[in-house]
Symmetry: C2
Subunit: 232 residues, 2 copies
Amino acid sequence: MRHAPVPATALSHPAATRLAALAPLSMRDRARLEQARSAPNIRQGREITAEGAPAELPRMVVAGWAALVRDFRDGRRQILSLLLPGEVLGDFHPSLPTTPWAVVALTEVAIADAPAADPDGALEQAYRAGADLQRAYTLNHIVRLGRMDAYERIADWLLETRDRLALSGLVDEGAFPMPLTQDMLGDLLGLTSVHVNRTLQVMRREGSVDLRSGWARLLRPAQLAEAAEYRA
Amino acid sequence: MRHAPVPATALSHPAATRLAALAPLSMRDRARLEQARSAPNIRQGREITAEGAPAELPRMVVAGWAALVRDFRDGRRQILSLLLPGEVLGDFHPSLPTTPWAVVALTEVAIADAPAADPDGALEQAYRAGADLQRAYTLNHIVRLGRMDAYERIADWLLETRDRLALSGLVDEGAFPMPLTQDMLGDLLGLTSVHVNRTLQVMRREGSVDLRSGWARLLRPAQLAEAAEYRA
DNA sequence: CGCGTTCTTGACTGCTTTCAAAGATGGTGG
DNA sequence: CCACCATCTTTGAAAGCAGTCAAGAACGCG
């Protein structure tokens, strides 16, 4: 189950959409975002290491899903944070001696350098707002893992993901890309893939979600939001 | 079980120690940190809201433990992030409409305004390094909650906390303050207080930790680190 | 059409929670 | 100085959500 291949050069890419939604970008900023040079695609499963960037320049995901991942010796794995299309990665702790996690491509991924911003400009403001959002996602993930049961975790995550992708203009009539396997979902949500499967079936049976072949659609978002106490 | 009262004016406070450990501060920076004016103490359980600060100036915890907390309607509670003495709070998403969490004093807490830093100076560098560390703690918390069992969560958290407090100069011959109740530990680690209690007893019986009346000492840190795959 | 990956399903196990109540502990007031 | 009270810790028994193990079905790709 691999989703559609990523074009080598994205025409109108999600990061431009997302950052323009976070601050009133000038046409010049938008153009620079659109024209950002894209690095060669990264294959599924590969690490997106900092090799190329000595000072770890900020980059943005143009297509595909990436994640920060930590692996245990015994095979357990935890996805710390997702990087969805349009989102910016970077600012990765140059000060820390060793980062105990890796950045991995969960699907085939296209990355581009994020254009430098004038410290007082709208683009910088958008970067900041994006980083704030990213932090909110991370904190919300803690709530999911710490105090929600399987049903709530999945419901909450689906809602958050829909909203995140909507910012990048990737939600089309309520449907959005969801290329993660149930295995990956388990590693993200602190569950086993077996239990993810059973819980998804409950949701499907009650008609809450339509989830298949790399796409998702929330059929009863209000019910899911109520169950997870989701706050848009 | 309340720990020793916080002096209204801390003489040599932990934030100065911590920031000096993160970057080579000038004597002038140190002096400004020491002299930072402290707001009135905040009583245990109270919210540390942004009332006073229109632009949400960064502040630092001079004494006591605070936390970002999210409460559920049904009484469940999750501690998202701890703020230990010496650590900086601030940069709290002015861009987000509503933050779905509160900053709460877990013990009596003393807060002071963090002095402004020259953008190119060592102090700014220390603030940045501190923020990076804070982010690493948050990501590690996700691993704890997502993929560790109760024993591993507690072991990992004790080790992290010891190292965090050591940065602020608060670890004395291996002993460090630990004012959280087992209830709070449960809310932090995604467990019930009952299970925290049982797990702590296992650790005590095997002689791994000495934990009582607001203080902790790790007797076999290597064993704990091995169990939790802790990476200093 | 064949193979590898992903998804489903079932039975069993177990870590953690729930519910309840009995001890400790520390601060407070008589 | 001691009784009293609220809070916190400790224990026990029973229930439950999620994990484990295993095998078969379905799907997508070459």
